[in-house]
Amino acid sequence: MSATTLPPFSSPEPSISPGRRIWLRFRQNRSGYASLIIFLILFVISLGAELVSNDKPLVASYHGKILFPIAHDYSEKTFGGDFESPADYLDPFIQDQFRKDGNWAVYPPNHYRFDTLNYFAKQPNPAPPSAENWLGTDDRGRDVFARLLYGFRISILFGLALTATGVVLGLLAGAVQGYFAGRTDLFMQRILEIWGSMPELYLLIIFSSIFEPSIGLLLVLLSLFGWMGLSDYVRADFLRNRNLEYVQAARALGLSNLQIIWRHVLPNSLTPVVTFLPFRMSASILALTSLDFLGLGVPPSTPSLGELLAQGKNNLDAWWIALSTFLVLTITLLLLTNIGDALRNALDVRRKA
């Protein structure tokens, strides 16, 4: 086939697949790589929060029967109590039962769920850190560690969901405006301006008094406004890239608009998305936290970092509440920023792996 007189160029280094190169570049950024590992460990632990911090034993053996209190509700009567009500495993009586004649129970490392009220606590609320409550309790006697763990999980999941919806909506709006430009762009820009001038916070306050506050409602409301900043950047990048020759070349190949956007313009317009990703994630978490802090966020029983911060503010003498929440929040945001930094480097194909 090679009838050409020109010698083939040989490449200076062996080929590595593009995906592998991205990973190699990511690992090059050591603080980002370390942050990713720490973050993943924390996230996986928090996903299994029920197994780490729960007021029910994981497995128990009572009179030769193996029971799974974590999955089933057993009444007090099962364990020799007097009532039909669900057993309270923090009750000294029940705990005693498990110590008798061959009975046993395996508890999670931390004996409290986020909403566990310990009626048998020895200290007044809020209680300082102790062997019983590792990070103390809040002013209602709930374990701070448990609330932080569950609150961290909700924050991260909420952040991921809000970032994802924001990125998808922002990309969509930005891509349509930037690629088709002209009238489409003009029209959508005006709509965006009108949409953007709605008072977000007031809407949140109004809606939270009309509807029953819930995580889902918050997600929908924040998503409605969270995509606009990004769409402007994506639009600008699309406007620039749509005129470049490789897009012309793709058109000359006969690709449809959708294919050109998806394969050519989009990958080259992701810089603002990737750059803002960690900040968007942090901002999402902070948005949830501050709304909770103001009492406009999730329903009261939900574990949330913002609610803990509010408690910390109300109980300044209980330093462990504010300090531990503050640390969790700061470390989370720091890890996310580091990961985002490494991700940005990794996705820049022009960098050497």
């Binding site: 086939m1 050409t4 083939p8 040989s10 490789y246 190949l253 990958p267």
Partner: protein, 530 residues
Amino acid sequence: MSLLDIRNLSVRFGDATVVDDISFSIEPGEKFALVGESGSGKTVSALSVLRLNQDARYDGQILFNGADILQKSEAAMRGVRGMDAAMIFQEPMTALNPLFTIGNQIAEVLMLHEGLNARAAAQRTVALLEKTGIPEPARRALAYPHQLSGGQRQRAMIAMALACHPKLLIADEPTTALDVTIQVQILELLNQLQRDENMAVLLISHDLNLVRHFADRVGVMEKGKLVETAATAALFAAPQQAYTRKLLASHPQRNVEEIAPDAPVLLTGANVRCTFSIKQGWLRKKKFAAVDDVSLTLRKGETLGIVGESGSGKSTLGMALLRLSTATVEGDIRFDSQQVSTMSSAAVRPLRARMQVVFQDPFASLSPRRTVAQIVGEGLALHQPQLGAAQQRADVVAALHEVGLSEDMLQRYPHEFSGGQRQRIAIARAVVLKPDLLLLDEPTSALDVTVQQQVLQLLAQLQRKHGLAYLFISHDLAVIRAMAHQVLVMKDGRVVESGAVADVLQQPSHAYTQRLLAAATYAADNVTRQ
């Protein structure tokens, strides 16, 4: 004493030695030229004289007026720059600040270095602009860079450089971004100013013919080394080094076969007209015809050269013929006797495989985030999905071999390749579909002369092998002369002359063609001589 004496200069950026142990000197009032291909270190050498390279480490000596530039403090350097040694750049559009009028920018230099007040500086500015031959200098001084033409911008840059009567003018590819007729004017202006002011000029260029007409002495650079320095006449008459000989020999050579007179017609355009509408005020629109009343015929295996200066509408015409233009296209365009001009864009899509494009800038025409395999294979996946992944891959590899690239480059990204290699990738993307027609839009203008030569040969080879028809757009008459069978000369959207290449370029009948040819001959007369 020499005005500039560079002794054993080396410039390093990190681990890379970009300039390697070069020595040369320039006398007062002398015109010295550094020639070389891109990446040869000629610009870095010149910027070293003003110490304008960022993050560079220097070794050696640069004696300017007897004092070592490399020993001076940054504050002392600011006195040298613009005052004793001034610089003009390749692209005047980006070298001028778009937010200030050119008068402002020239006056700034005067106020900074000569301590003139605003009024005196303004007067001197107008005088300087007049000297560079800009019409209506007083009015142009109030213009912003975007309001001027390319040639006028370069004149303004020159006025700025001359503001403080420098002893040395460094001109970094001052005419590369300009049309041939303008190139000649700028070069003549530089020549005349050099004589009037008796300043030394350090010209940096990749264009040997331009250097030949301008410089007293020439230095040839290759990969950071100065391989040869000689008086211009001596260098061109008897080059001593192999590399110099190779450079001198690198001009397009005719390498195409004549086609049979009965070859079938592939593409015809009759009275093609492309209009853009320009907004005027709120609601009114004005129509602007970028291409007007152009008719052409292209046969199978034939190359039709389209020549013209920038803004002549040659690219717009090419795009319109392939239904890729954003302009409103009128007229009758037939590809393989199917009328493309009235087809729906969905109906044109299957035809796309048969008509392909190669663009000018291989850095912009390949998507930076796709691998070579994806770039070349995309068309196959779209037009011949029935082949299956394995066969498609084999075809991609075959196309890469055909353009002189190897299989192990499949997983690489465009930025890992040189300009010439990228252009080969772009050609592979086009030929992998086995098209009948290739639109080549200035395919070699962004490449070095030696690489340009290789790419032209490759194109001629592909044409012979596959019977491709080329629409070859170029501003470079030498390239058209080497590649085309027929030629269209365009000016302001209209065809001024057309016919067989030999006729049009030997005995041009239209005044514009004659002027174009004269300018090109000035810039490239060793091509015509052979």
